[in-house]
Structures are given as structure tokens and as C-alpha cells.
């Protein structure tokens, strides 16, 4: 693709979508000069003054930034007001440490503790601590002058960037952020998304020098010192993105999507309750897939019925009259859960996973079914089982569910059996779909394609073979949709294919009229259906 004169291109992960073309600005957390320590009293006073100065600076930043940024900075202010934290540092100064050394080593210990956490959220918070650490260090070392002035519209490149530095940069002229490390769940990523600043993280090693940069937040690429041809292609992508985004937003607000006069239901997939906060989620016709594995992660024990009920109930309350399909635990395969999944299976993708595992561990499964039965009373709930091979499994799950409902009702607790359906992801289930007494089917195209094509979807070497549009995969999708149509049972598709505009014509031609996608893909998918409906291409 690239000619000999082409600049260098790097790929990372998307943290915020958008495009930036401007001067390349490499920023580093400068460590500043050395400082000479004074007496114990002077050192304690120096730290006290530095903390007060930092507090004031952060308060000013928060006041001028407002909103979400102010809330993020509040955490840093709270840290400076944390007597336990601060007293330990003064104690260390009392024992003879210089102020900067005492401050730095205490903050570093906390940062290391956050970084060792198993959950990404706490890891991401360590950059807030690093931000605070560096701010106070700067003040202690006297580098209080204005920090590097960043030209408006520049592509700022740093190892990682703390939120307060982000807020000190003037983004009014556009620009973008390219981080060598960083995370899409960091506070700075939230700020970038809120401001519409393109941001790419985890770019790895890139040169320190460069004059001009092209940052594509959609394709997650950074191009340095691009050729004229690269610039031309980039500007074309940017232009397409702009046009497409504007019209997608307009189409998203229309009440329904339709194709050749038939209504297409567009639902969303959620991984956790907070996914409902996405601005586009409100335009969905319902929730086509709520995964429940998040309830199992980041904790030492398995969640009890009440914890689960709260999560399901929150989603049903959000949805109101709209349907909510919750999938029971899909653990096993590539999703091991300590205390639940089996260890040492030689081939976990063909092992005891999904409904197979739940039926093998009824003491865990019935707790989830109990929470679902209670939640069913409060909304339009449908429950589906994953990784079902034979009709007997569905019936075994139904029997267990009915027993749970009966027990709850006998105790005077409001509960009911919701509509029960299955994921169609095992080829045997797709081929024998008529044998299942299910109220609905949801095609899990990721696993279905992996099993039909005999390709591990995480194995990059097989990427060319892993084609969801392979005629064998489409044949099974069409058979399932056809059965649904004849038996008047709803059939939806909730895999990655549904969110991929290139797959849409095939899915609609297979007879699917219900698709479930991530909230972030909703606008684009609705727009693509609109285009196809009016005779246009995928776009």
C-alpha cells in the first residue's frame, strides 16, 4: 500500500473516535531539576506549601473545566485532604527524608498498589495519582513556569497523559492525543470522548521526532511525516467520517428502521449495567443481549441472589416496556471463572461451558435463576441459555427454572418464569432448530462461525479463513431465520456480524429482521439499513 516515500504508520487501540491532522508534539513528564533539601522544619514547610499550591491549582482547573472534569479532579483534591496519607509523608520527613523523596516514595507505593489491582478501573485510576505526584513534584522543584505550550490543533504524543495535563491543553482548535501506553477506560479517555478529541492508546514504541502527524481515532492509527498520498487518503477518510456521522445521528433519532417495507428491530448488547449510559442507547428497541459474566469477575466469591437481582432489575427499569434479553452465565471456553469453571480441560471451547456448565453446577445456576425469576415480575424479561446442543438441555434448564419459581412463590416472594430461548451457536442446534421448544432464538454468530469453520477465533493465523460470510455460516443463519418465520418465533442475531455494515446485506437477505449490536454501532447500522433500503450500497 505505502510507496517508498511514505511516512511511518503505527497502530494502537481506539480510545476516542475522530481525526486530527497537525503538528506532532512530543510531551514528556519532565523530571525537572534537583533540589537541595533543608532542615526537617523547612522540608515539612516546603511540602505543606506545595500541597496548598497544588490544591489551589487543581481547584482553579476544576472551576474552569466544570462538569465531569471537575468531578474527576475532586478525587485529587480529596487525596490532598487525606490526613492518613499526608501524615505518613510528614512522618517520613520527620525521620529525615527530604520533602520530594518522602512525597514521591509514598505516592509511588500507592500507584504500585493500584497497578497491581486485578480490575482495569483501579489500574486506570493510578494515572490520577501519578498526575498528583508530578504536580506536587514540579512545585517542590520550583518548575512552576508555564508548562510546554502546545500549538492548537497539534497531535499530542506522550507515554501517558494525566487528566490535569489534558485540561491544561487548549483543545479549542482541535487536535488529537496519541499515547504509547494508556487505556481506553482511563479518566483522560473519558475526557477526550466527552470533548470529541480523537485519541489512540497503546501505540507502543514510536520515534520522538516528527513534524506532522495524522491521527485516525477510528482506525486507531498514527502516521508520522506522511506523504502527500497518505494525507490525501486520510483527508478522504476524515471527510467520509464527518458526513457519515452527521447523517447517522439524524437517522438514529427516527423511530424505526425499515428495509423493503419491513420493520427491522435494532437492539443493543450490554456487558454491564453502565453500558446503558452510552448516549445512543436510548434509541434502541430494547436489549438483545445482556451478558452476565461481569457479575462473576473482579470478586473473590460468587454473587448472591440479591446482588444479581439488583443488576437485572436496574436494566429492566431502564428499559421500561422494551424487551430485555438476559443470557445466563456463559462461563468456560475462553472465560474461566475460579470456583465455577473446570480446570485443565484439554479443549475448553469444546468443553463444559455455557449451559453445560450451569446444569453441572445447579447450586450456582439456581441462584441466578432465582434472581431472574424475581426480576421477571418487573419488566419485559426474556432469558436465554448459551451453548445449547440438544433440546433436552433446554428442557432440563426449564425444569430447574420452574422449580426455583415454585419455591420462591411458596415463600411468598413475587416471581415468575420468563420467556425462555436459546442462543444458536452450536452447529447442531442450528441444523436441528425445529427440535427446540424455545420462545425465541438468538444467533451467536461469533461462536457459530468458529464452530462451523473449525477456526479458533482468537488465532490470528486463521484470520483469512475466519469469514462470517462463508456460505456455510450464512446457510445456517438462513435456516434458523426461515424456521422462525414459519413457526412465528422471533429470531435475532447478536454477534459481531450484526454490527458490521459489510455483513448487513447478507443478514437481511437471510431473512433476519432483528439485530443486536453495541450501542456505539447503533447509529451506523441504522444508517446502513436506511441506505440499503433506498437502493444504495453499504457505504
Amino acid at each position: 500500500m505505502q510507496g517508498g516515500a511514505a511516512g511511518l504508520a503505527y497502530r494502537g487501540r481506539t480510545a476516542s473516535i475522530g481525526f486530527a491532522h497537525g503538528p506532532f508534539v512530543r510531551v514528556d513528564a519532565g523530571s525537572g531539576g534537583e533540589r537541595v533539601a533543608g532542615t526537617l522544619v523547612e522540608e515539612a514547610l516546603a511540602l505543606r506549601n506545595a500541597i496548598d499550591t497544588a490544591s489551589g491549582q487543581i481547584a482553579d482547573l476544576a472551576a474552569s473545566a466544570g462538569g465531569e472534569a471537575a468531578q474527576i479532579l475532586e478525587f485529587q483534591v480529596a487525596l490532598l485532604e487525606d490526613e492518613d496519607l499526608i501524615e505518613a509523608i510528614f512522618a517520613s520527613i520527620g525521620e529525615g527524608s527530604p520533602a520530594d523523596v518522602a512525597w514521591r516514595s509514598t505516592l509511588d507505593a500507592h500507584i504500585a498498589d493500584y497497578n497491581s489491582a486485578p480490575d482495569d478501573y483501579l489500574k486506570a485510576r493510578s494515572s490520577d495519582l501519578a498526575d498528583l505526584r508530578d504536580r506536587v513534584m514540579h512545585i517542590l522543584r520550583g518548575d512552576q513556569g508555564p508548562r510546554l505550550k502546545i500549538p492548537s490543533g497539534g497531535v499530542v504524543c506522550a507515554d501517558d497523559l494525566p487528566p490535569s495535563r489534558f485540561l491544561e491543553i487548549d483543545w479549542s482548535g482541535g487536535g488529537g492525543l496519541a499515547l504509547l501506553r494508556g487505556s481506553p477506560t482511563s479518566h483522560v479517555a473519558m475526557l477526550a470522548r466527552a470533548r470529541g478529541i480523537p485519541m489512540v492508546v497503546q501505540l507502543g514504541a514510536i520515534p520522538d521526532t516528527g513534524t506532522t502527524a495524522l491521527l485516525d481515532g477510528e482506525g486507531a492509527t498514527l502516521e508520522l511525516d506522511p506523504s502527500a498520498e497518505q494525507v490525501r487518503v486520510f483527508e478522504k477518510r476524515r471527510d467520509n467520517h464527518r458526513k457519515s456521522r452527521a447523517s447517522a445521528r439524524a437517522i438514529l433519532r427516527r423511530p424505526t428502521a425499515s428495509w423493503r417495507g419491513e420493520r427491522i428491530r435494532l437492539l443493543i448488547n450490554i456487558q454491564r449495567v453502565e453500558d446503558l449510559e452510552h448516549a445512543d442507547a436510548q434509541y434502541a428497541d430494547g436489549i438483545g443481549l445482556m451478558r452476565t459474566e461481569f457479575l462473576l469477575s473482579g470478586r473473590s466469591d460468587l454473587p448472591d441472589e440479591e446482588t444479581q437481582f439488583q443488576a437485572y432489575d436496574a436494566v429492566l427499569r431502564w428499559a421500561g416496556q422494551r424487551p430485555v434479553t438476559i443470557r445466563t452465565f456463559d462461563a468456560g471456553g475462553d472465560k474461566p471463572v475460579p470456583g465455577f469453571t473446570l480446570d485443565g480441560e484439554p479443549n475448553p471451547f469444546l468443553g463444559v461451558r455455557g449451559l453445560r456448565l450451569c446444569l453441572a453446577r445447579p447450586e450456582i445456576f439456581t441462584i441466578q435463576l432465582g434472581a431472574l425469576a424475581r426480576a421477571a415480575v418487573h419488566g419485559n424479561l426474556k432469558v436465554m441459555f448459551p451453548m445449547v446442543t440438544s433440546a433436552d438441555e433446554l428442557e432440563a434448564g426449564r425444569k430447574l427454572f420452574a422449580d426455583v419459581v415454585q419455591r420462591l412463590q411458596a415463600d411468598g416472594i413475587a416471581a415468575m418464569l420468563p420467556e425462555l430461548g436459546i442462543m444458536v451457536e452450536v452447529p447442531a442446534a442450528a441444523l436441528a432448530v425445529a427440535s427446540f421448544k424455545a420462545s425465541f432464538f438468538s444467533i451467536g454468530s461469533n461462536d457459530l462461525a468458529q464452530y462451523v469453520l473449525a477456526c479458533d477465533r482468537s488465532n490470528g493465523a486463521l484470520a483469512p479463513l475466519m469469514d462470517p460470510l462463508h456460505p456455510a455460516v450464512l446457510e445456517l443463519i438462513a435456516r434458523t431465520a426461515d424456521h422462525g418465520r414459519r413457526a412465528a418465533i422471533s429470531v435475532s442475531l447478536c454477534g459481531d456480524m450484526a454490527g458490521d455494515p459489510r455483513c448487513l446485506p447478507a443478514l437481511l437477505n437471510c431473512g433476519l429482521r432483528e439485530l443486536s449490536v453495541n450501542a456505539s454501532a447503533l447509529a451506523q447500522i441504522k444508517q446502513t439499513i436506511d441506505r440499503l433500503s433506498s437502493g444504495g450500497g453499504v457505504g
Binding site: Q71, I72, E74, F75, A78, L79, E81, D82, E83, D84, L85, H110, D113, Y114, A117, D119, Y121, L122, R125, D128, R272, V273, E274, L295, G298, R299, P303, D304, E306, T307, Q310, A311, A314
Partner: protein, 100 residues
Amino acid sequence: MLDKADGQIFTGDVRLVHAVGMHARPAVKLTKLAKKFQAQISVRVAGAPEWINAKSVAKIMAMRAAHGSTIEIKAAGSDAEAAVAALVDLIASDFPDGAP
């Protein structure tokens, strides 16, 4: 220790319903509220070996209380009873905006 002087220790426990657990914003709100009371207030995730100072945001964050865990609260001091009630209420009502 001075706990004889003020006498009684008040306790309470409450389920953490916040979707992401005890993270930055809830932790800031909890410590801000705790600081409004004179009482010495400690919290822990039910069954954890150590009690944690409810007025230290760094320690509350590091406690890593997950969604659905139970938080135990104990307080000693003149306004201990009100402190426990206020903190239980803050956590049970999912740290509403406008709370301290």
C-alpha cells in the same frame, strides 16, 4: 485508647449497590461525609481482617470493595450514632448526586 470516655460503639452494615463498586466518586463522597462527624469512623468489607479509616480516601479506594459486597461500619464518639446512620444511608441510596 479513649473509647471509655465516649462509651458506646455504634455499628451498621449495608450492601454496596453502586454498579462499579467503591471507586473514585463514591469514595470521595463517603470520605467527605465521614469528615463532617467528630466520631472516629471505620469501615471494612464484611469479614476483611482490617478496619479502615472512613476519612481516608486513599485507603477507601484501596479497600477495593466490589459491587454487591457488604460494607461494615463502626463509629465511636459523641455523634457516632448519627455518623453510622448517615453513611449507611449514603451507601444504600447509591451515592446520589447532591450528597456531600
